[in-house]
């Protein structure tokens, strides 16, 4: 029962980050701020969900696979965010200011 409670808490927290990431993608004013919100969903949201599901996993191999999936998404989102931000700067898109 404890493990189920842990899973539920972690999954709900992860879903919250996905919601926040999507809201940020929709509401933030420019490409840099949107990158910021979106990478939160990638990193923290998926991380919490992966942790929550790993608690329920049937074997160590399954836990390893879930961890690998999370690490791969981390790598992809960090690289993607860097590439998009660098291109945006070089294209002369000005970061949003108040």
């Amino acid at each position: 029962m404890v493990s189920q409670a842990v899973t539920i808490v972690l999954l709900l927290a992860g879903a919250g980050f996905f919601l926040a990431g999507t809201l940020g993608l929709l509401r933030f004013p420019d490409v840099y701020t949107r990158l910021h919100s979106l990478t939160k969903a990638d990193n923290v949201g998926l991380g919490l969900m992966a942790a929550g599901l790993a608690v329920q996993a049937e074997s160590w191999a399954a836990i390893g696979k879930i961890a690998l999936i999370w690490l791969l998404v981390l790598l992809a989102s960090a690289t993607g965010a860097h590439l998009v931000a660098r291109s945006a700067l070089r294209k002369g898109i000005k970061p949003w200011t108040l």
Binding site: L72, L75, A76, T79, H82, L83, R86
Partner: protein, 326 residues
């Protein structure tokens, strides 16, 4: 199944099916072609989820690698070549941003007729689907019956490489012919001029070995679980595409014969196995039960490598030029 989970399942499937239609419509109706392509990438993702829901994880794997990864990259590359040539051909008296003029050539009457025809077709096809006999066992039981003689325990792999091996052989032929046709149309256009940057290079260096490992895993596990040569080949192709995208120059220098040999490996091994079975007094591709597993694995390894390299070569969009300078 209790009411709650039944309701959750129905809601999920209903929403996903509606989303498929809406996104499919947006893919086709977006005035901006780039927008349409991004919708298409999202569409591929939803299709992969649908295959999961239809209990077809093998197809979901293939769709995830091809629909959401490779096709998107192919379309983006084609669009950027189109736009660049339009930019360089300023002399053209035709409107350059022709992407926005979509159905201008059709009169309103023709368009209305087309819409009515589409609606009638939809109703006819829907009725045809509904009038299918409801309880067909399909070929599932037959496959299950013969599975022990196929050399593998994953029924989809058994169908692909044993029961219907001719399909797969001819499909390798289709891939090969498609590449021959693409090569005969034009030399591979140079498309990358900016430096990739150290982060992209390190990313590719870290990721590609993991992708190759994952492709091997998918190939191996395909004998008894969802996976197999096509999924592994598609994943491998994505790795090669990443390498090509990280390079400053897409042209492989030097002799092209190792490339040509790799491209024909899958088809060659497939035919060679079939022919040697004929030499042993059996029919073409009629595997002996005790050796079927090994022969299938041999064919699949060759097919995976060929599929991966062929799909990546198709992405290049033309024949690589020998020793082309940077």
């Amino acid at each position: 199944m209790d009411v709650m989970s039944l309701a959750a399942n129905w809601t999920f499937d209903g929403l996903l099916a509606l989303a498929l239609l809406w996104v499919g419509w947006r893919v086709l109706a977006s005035t901006n072609l780039f927008k349409g392509i991004v919708f298409f990438i999202a569409f591929g993702l939803l299709v992969a989820l649908s295959w999961v829901r239809l209990e077809a994880p093998d197809v979901a794997l293939a769709e995830a690698a091809i629909g959401a990864g490779l096709t998107g990259a192919l379309l983006l590359a084609a669009l950027s070549r189109l736009r660049r040539r339009q930019d360089s051909a300023q002399a053209s008296d035709q409107p350059l941003d022709a992407e926005t003029s979509r159905t201008a050539r059709l009169s309103l009457g023709t368009q209305a007729l087309l819409i009515v025809f589409s609606a009638v077709l939809f109703v006819c096809l829907g009725t045809a689907f509904l009038s299918l006999p409801p309880l067909t066992p399909g070929l599932g039981p037959q496959v299950a019956e013969q599975l022990s003689a196929s050399g593998v325990t994953n029924p989809v792999t058994a169908v692909l490489l044993n029961f219907r091996a001719y399909d797969t052989l001819l499909e390798m032929g289709v891939l090969f012919l498609a590449l021959v046709a693409v090569w005969s149309l034009s030399p591979a256009p140079a498309q990358l001029v900016t430096a990739p940057g150290s982060i992209l290079i390190s990313f590719v260096r870290v990721l590609v070995p993991i992708v190759v490992l994952a492709a091997t895993y998918l190939l191996w596990i395909g004998a008894y679980a969802p996976g197999g040569a096509f999924q592994a080949g598609a994943v491998l192709a994505a790795a090669v595409v990443l390498i090509l995208l990280a390079g400053e120059n897409t042209m492989p220098a030097g002799s092209t014969w190792p490339l040509r040999a790799t491209l024909s490996l899958g088809l060659g091994v497939f035919v060679a196995v079939g022919m040697s079975l004929m030499g042993m007094g059996r029919s073409f591709l009629d595997f002996p039960t005790d050796q079927a597993g090994n022969l299938i694995l041999l064919i699949e390894v060759a097919a995976t490598v060929s599929i991966g390299v062929t799909l990546a070569a198709l992405f290049l969009g033309g024949q690589p030029q020998r020793g082309s300078p940077k």
